[in-house]
C-alpha cells in the first residue's frame, strides 16, 4: 500500500460505541463527517406534549423536557435518514409523527411515591418507535396525584435541539508520536511516573510508548523532562474517530448516514452549478 492511500479500519465495534481508524484522510473531511454526525443526522424525539391532567406538584414543562431527553428507537435505514435530513434542511420537514399516550395515577393504598418510568410510554401505531431504555425515571407521583398526557415525537436535527442528536460525544484524535533524543537524556524516572494514563516505559535505555493510543497528548512528560529529551507530537495522517451513540441509532448507521448526507449535499451543489 502506498503512503497516501486511504485506509479505514474498524478498531472497536460494540453496541453504542464505534472506533474507526482513518489513514491518509484529510482532517477537513474527517471533521466534516464528525460535525455532520453531531448536527445533521436525524432521529426521533418527543417534541410536543399535551397534558390533559396534571395534579402533581411538578410543572408540565419539567415533565415535557424530560420526555424530550428520552432517546427513541429510530428506523435505521441510512438512505431514508439522509433524505429526511436533506428535506428538513431544505425547509420540507417530513410529515411523520409518532404519538404516545401515558396515564399514571398513584393509589392511596400504595403508601409510597409512584415512580413512572419510560416503559410506560407506549407508542400508538408504530411499535418500533419505543424508548431505548425501559428504566429511565420520567417523574414521580405522590398519593392521589394523576398525570395524563399525549406526546408527539417527530424527526429533527442536532442543530435544532441537542435531543435530536444521535450521539453524545463524537471525537477524533491523531496518532500520538513520541520523539526521544537519547543523546540529551539524563537518568530520570519522572517522565514515566508523571503520565496520567501510564503509557510510557523505558526499554533498552530509550523512552517508548506501551500503546501510543493510550496517550492523551497532555504533554505532562514533556514538562517533567528537565533535559528536554522528550517531545510529544502527533501524526496527522492517522486519526481515530470514536462515535458514542445514545441508542436511537446504531453507530455504523450514524456514520453511513452522515457520509450520505455530505454526498447528497455535494450533489445538490453540482446540480446548482449546472455543469
Amino acid at each position: 500500500m502506498s503512503q497516501t492511500e486511504l485506509s479505514v479500519k474498524v478498531i472497536e465495534d460494540k453496541p453504542g460505541l464505534l472506533t474507526v481508524e482513518f489513514s491518509n484522510l484529510r482532517r477537513e473531511v474527517l471533521n466534516g463527517i464528525r460535525r455532520t454526525i453531531l448536527a445533521e443526522v436525524p432521529t426521533l424525539a418527543i417534541d410536543e406534549v399535551l397534558f390533559t391532567e396534571n395534579s402533581s406538584p411538578i410543572y408540565g414543562e419539567y415533565i415535557a423536557h424530560r420526555l424530550g431527553m428520552v432517546p427513541i428507537k429510530t428506523p435505521d435505514d441510512p438512505e431514508i435518514l439522509s433524505q429526511i435530513s436533506i428535506d428538513i434542511q431544505g425547509g420540507n420537514p417530513p410529515n411523520m409523527r409518532v404519538e404516545y399516550q401515558l396515564r399514571a395515577e398513584c393509589p392511596p393504598q400504595l403508601g409510597q411515591p409512584l415512580t413512572v418510568s419510560s416503559d410506560m410510554l407506549k407508542p400508538l401505531g408504530v411499535e418500533e418507535a419505543r424508548p431505548v431504555y425501559d428504566n429511565i425515571q420520567l417523574f414521580k407521583l405522590g398519593q392521589n396525584q394523576v398525570v395524563e398526557l399525549q406526546a408527539t415525537a417527530r424527526y429533527g436535527l442536532g442543530k435544532q435541539h441537542a435531543k435530536f442528536s444521535p450521539v453524545s460525544p463524537v471525537v477524533y484524535i491523531y496518532k500520538p508520536v513520541l520523539i526521544f533524543d537519547k543523546t540529551k537524556d539524563e537518568p530520570c524516572d519522572q517522565h514515566v511516573s508523571v503520565c496520567p494514563t501510564n503509557c510510557l516505559e523505558y526499554k533498552h535505555g530509550e523512552l517508548v510508548f506501551t500503546n501510543p493510543w493510550d496517550c492523551i497528548l497532555c504533554r505532562a512528560c514533556e514538562k517533567a523532562c528537565k533535559s528536554g529529551a522528550t517531545k510529544i507530537m502527533w501524526d496527522e495522517s492517522v486519526a481515530r474517530l470514536t462515535i458514542e451513540a445514545t441508542g436511537s441509532l446504531p453507530p455504523k448507521v450514524i456514520l453511513k448516514t452522515a457520509i450520505l448526507i455530505l454526498l447528497k449535499k455535494f450533489k445538490l451543489v453540482s446540480e446548482k452549478v449546472g455543469a
Binding site: 411515591p113 414521580k140 407521583l141 405522590g142 396525584q145 441537542a162 453524545s168 460525544p169 445514545t246
Partner: protein, 78 residues
C-alpha cells in the same frame, strides 16, 4: 429534583443507570467502582451521579387540588 436523564455537558444518557447506582451505593459499595462498572468514564458524567441530591419525595407532599375539590378539602362549604 429528579435524577437528570442526560449529562448536562456531553449529553450521554445516564437516566437508565441511576437505579443500579443507587442500589449498589446503598449496599455499601464505593461510588467510583460502580461508575467504572457502569461505563461512566468522563468526569462530566460522573459528577452527575455524585452531586445529585434526591429531594423529590419532599416535594411530592404538596398536591395541586382541582378547583371543584378545594371546598371539600377546606371543610365542605361548596
Amino acid at each position: 429534583m429528579l435524577f437528570p436523564i442526560r449529562c448536562f455537558t456531553c449529553g450521554k444518557v445516564l437516566g437508565d443507570k441511576w437505579d443500579e447506582y443507587k442500589k449498589r451505593v446503598d449496599a455499601g459499595e464505593a461510588p467510583s467502582k460502580i461508575l467504572d462498572d457502569l461505563g461512566v468514564k468522563r468526569y462530566c458524567c460522573r459528577r452527575m451521579f455524585i452531586s445529585y441530591v434526591e429531594i423529590m419525595d419532599e416535594v411530592l407532599k404538596f398536591t395541586v387540588y382541582k378547583a371543584e375539590n378545594i371546598g371539600e378539602k377546606i371543610g365542605g362549604e361548596s
